[in-house]
Amino acid sequence: MDFAYTEEQKFFQKVVADMVEKVVEPKAEALDESDDFDHDLFREVGGLGYYGLRYPEDVGGMDVDTQTFAIFIEEMAHGSFGFATAAMMQCLMGTHFLHRFGSEDIIERLFKPAIRGEKISCIAFTEETSGSDITGTRTIAKQDGDEWILNGKKMWITNGPIADFVTVLATTDPALKTKGLNFFLVEKGMEGFTYGQVLHKLGARGTVTGEIIFNDVRLPADHLLGEEVNKGMEYMQEVLEEIRLMTAALALGLARAALEDAREYARVREAFGKVIGKYQLIRSKFGECWTEFEAAKLLVQKVAWMIQNKIPCGNEAAMAKMFATEMCLKAVDEATRIYGGNAFAQEYPVQRYFRDARFLLYGGGTHEVLKNFLGSRYIGRL
């Protein structure tokens, strides 16, 4: 058993941390304030090759192992959580189904430019009336000869309103529930594809999140992303573990940012004649958070190892996502306590961490759903 990063992973971590510190972090506050998408930053990070980390070299990727990819996500979240969510979308959910099922034309025209940071991708599951429950999907795809006609609305789509292309979850028949789901590719500029409301978010700001609308959008045959019709749920399962793992990695990065800032503050802030880091009640916060951080990190490392070695890890990935998120929520909460009233000031970043962390509750599965899932797995069939 070996828990240490390899020499390559260590070097990669150092390079990414340095890039994030110099390129991403200086923009974190402005991204949060404006909630606008920073196209220059997006292109710059893409130009360095980061969005292709998990893809093979023959399509312009870097073919890194899952742990190395998790290191990237963690470091990005350490610098700017909002931007990290956009980067993760581009590296993973927004491009995965194009790579897995895209025709040569789709790979050349959309996928390759996307991993270079020249096109913006997104994924659309959620609708106004369905989130956790994807069997509630009402966006409908009807076959018409060789083509498909798409109708429906998606809500809460990260970068949906500005994306160059969208991977859309749609059903061929709602009555088929999970057995009617499919992924379709919709491109900007296609007739009938528009966007609606843009949401004003509490945290994870710096992406344009909102509603996208499909009104009789005609799609060529190769825009069904799948080898067979109605296999969307299976295809989704293939990547779900990785999405949950990377959500956990986001939590690690954000928690670390909060704890490091809080530590800095505890070292210099004085109260009653001593720096507050000397008080046991303050120390105990670090004692607990640091321990839980390490435990979350171990889960992340284990799941990364399982995915890398193709060991099924649906349970462990759900645990990692949930545990890392709860750890992060506690860390940002404790950080705001350590900062005292200053935590309440926009002038300090802790309030941003506090708001950002809330996103982790929803992305990658809510904890009510995950606990229910894990509990039923543990108890077994009744």
């Binding site: 020499e7 390559e8 070097f11 990669f12 150092k14 390079v15 340095d18 890039m19 110099k22 390129v23 710059e44 360095l48 090759g49 980061y50 292709g52 980390l53 870097m62 890194v64 210099v268 004085e270 720096v275």
Partner: protein, 262 residues
């Protein structure tokens, strides 16, 4: 053009440095390439991209220092050399560098590898000695220009600028030469992931003194640290009350008289 760059690994600016007692320091295991050296590397790469040639990075340091060379490879250096030898251990430590010893080694490396131009940082961020560059140039008997803020290569010579406090001086200098990089020279690039992954797998070889035909007993430091004193932990903050003009005058007085800062 054959360009050599000298780089030094220094404690990270955020690394904690503790005094164990008054003659030894402990540095947190966090290191980075000295800031001015990153400018030298970037300038070397830009010159190569414009005029062709090769960039070779060299450091003198223990195994951990290989990391800065890996970074040079990730940025685009063609080759790297780490020079180390047990005989160097007493003169290159975590908290002290004997400049003359290092300059002797680097001069030998430069002769061994051959070069048209050498670049280094104007000073190392840990000891601020600003000595290795100038000493190496002296040992090699080549021209040295310090703290350059722009470099332009010409046929057989180089034109550099030194900018300071808004004033600027232009200097022409014959090659081979050694230049030291000043802040403002360039904005170092971020490495491409492709090169990072390649550099991560590269083997960083070490050369010892014998390979450079340097006698170990030539490395004798006549300069040694005797004691260290760390700065006051928490410098107290004082708030100067009163009308802004009076408070500013008081601030100037204190900076001048109490801190000798002005």
């Amino acid at each position: 053009m054959k360009i050599l760059v000298f780089v030094k690994q220094v404690p990270d600016t955020e690394a904690l440095v503790e005094a164990l007692d008054d003659s030894s320091l402990k540095v947190e295991e966090k290191f980075e390439m000295s800031f001015f050296d990153t400018l030298a590397v970037e300038e070397a790469l830009r010159l190569k991209e414009k005029h062709g040639g090769t960039v070779t990075a060299v450091t003198v340091g223990p195994e951990r220092a290989g990391e800065v060379l890996r970074t040079c490879l990730a940025l685009g250096a063609d080759s790297v050399f780490r020079i180390w030898d047990e005989a160097l251990a007493p003169v290159v430590t975590d908290v002290f560098t004997d400049s003359l010893s290092v300059a002797r080694v680097l001069a030998a490396v430069a002769k061994h590898l051959g070069f048209d131009l050498i670049l280094c940082g104007k000073q190392a961020l840990d000891d601020d000695a600003a000595a290795v560059g100038v000493m190496t140039a002296a040992l090699l008997e080549i021209p040295f220009v310090t703290a350059v803020t722009s470099v332009k290569a010409e046929e057989g010579s180089i034109r550099v600028k030194q900018k300071r406090d808004g004033a600027e001086r232009e200097i022409k200098c014959e090659l081979p030469a050694l230049l030291s990089a000043e802040k403002g020279l360039n904005e170092p690039r971020q490495p491409q992931v492709m090169k990072v992954m390649k550099a991560a797998r590269a083997k960083i070889d070490a050369m010892d003194l014998a390979a450079l035909k340097i006698q170990a007993d030539a490395i004798i430091s006549t300069v040694k640290p005797v004691s260290f004193t760390v700065p006051d932990k928490a410098r107290s903050i004082s708030i100067i009350e009163g009308e802004p003009a009076d408070a500013a005058a008081e601030l100037v007085r204190r900076l001048r008289e109490e801190r000798q800062a002005l």
